[in-house]
């Protein structure tokens, strides 16, 4: 009951800076263009793409997706804890997010190393060009995500700062990295 009252009382609000949403929408357009080129050229030579794609291990992709979803989950919890004033819990959730992000990075590097061992380099086939390109640019976004998490930690640690808006902005960025991976995962591993 209290929850309901609280919810209706609070006006609808934009989570974080509206500016970050401009980034999210613009950046997802850029990624949509990458994906569009990938899907288009895939249909021009489906056999070669399918043949290369068969060398990816779907289980690694599923694992990574679950890990990144976990990190997003804890980031979402962090925002709610911070909003409720539970800053210790919020900090713990950011660290948890960073931990899952780190696991994702390690699995990703491991997967790259394995593909290179199998002889699939950046320039060996069209599919692996796109694979390394899309996972690589996403990797860069994730690395920036760690800087963003650092900002969130910096905000949460001192009572003098604790800007809820900035924490939400950081979370919005992190979820963007997550949903971009959801798309990349679907397009690289499962699309036929």
């Amino acid at each position: 009951m209290a929850v309901l009252a609280d919810k209706t009382e609070r006006a609808r609000f934009i989570p974080g800076q509206a500016d970050m949403w401009a980034f999210v929408l613009f950046e997802s357009l850029v990624f949509t263009a990458y994906f569009g080129f990938y899907l288009f050229y895939r249909t021009q030579n489906p056999e070669a793409f399918l043949h290369s794609q068969a060398q990816l291990d779907l289980r690694v992709g599923v694992l990574n997706t679950l890990v990144l979803l976990l990190s997003s989950w804890s980031m979402a919890r962090c925002v709610q804890s911070a909003r409720a004033g539970a800053y210790q819990a919020a900090l713990r959730d950011v660290y948890l997010t960073a931990f899952f992000g780190g696991v994702f990075l390690c699995v990703k590097v491991f997967e790259w190393a394995r593909q290179i061992q199998l002889g699939n380099n950046f320039d060996t086939s069209d599919f692996f060009t796109y694979y390394f390109f899309l996972t690589g640019i996403h990797f860069v976004h994730l690395l920036i995500g760690f800087v963003v998490l650092g900002v969130a930690v910096y905000q949460l640690r001192s009572p003098a700062r604790r800007s809820q808006q900035l924490v939400e902005t950081c979370a919005t960025y992190w979820h963007t990295v997550d949903f971009l991976w959801v798309l990349i995962f679907a397009l690289l591993y499962v699309v036929r």
Binding site: S28, L39, F179
Partner: protein, 95 residues
């Protein structure tokens, strides 16, 4: 109050995880056949977009955002979907 919120997020995560695992099932049911399939592709993209929309609404809290942002986020999901399926089917058609 906190536990109530967390339960919802947990359910959201479980749904997302289930959708992710559904890919395993799709992949398994194809049992390694190397053929292009517009049906599989469409399903996969649609499932991914559903996941994206759930992330938008629940994790990114668009659900509680002003209506403009809600509509904008939904429009973006549709836009991405149209662009992806469009490039796939146009590519298939003019091959």
């Amino acid at each position: 109050m906190k536990t109530a919120f967390n339960k919802r997020l947990l359910v959201v995560w479980l749904i997302l995880a289930a959708l992710t695992l559904s890919y395993s099932w799709i992949d398994h049911s194809l049992s390694g056949s190397l053929t292009a399939s517009a049906l599989v592709t469409s399903c996969v993209i649609v499932i991914a977009l559903i996941k994206v929309r759930i992330i938008f609404r629940e994790f990114m809290e668009v659900r509680q955002a002003p209506v403009v942002l809600c509509r904008l986020a939904d429009a973006w999901v549709v836009l991405i979907g149209v662009a992806l399926l469009g490039s796939y089917f146009i590519g298939t058609a003019i091959r």
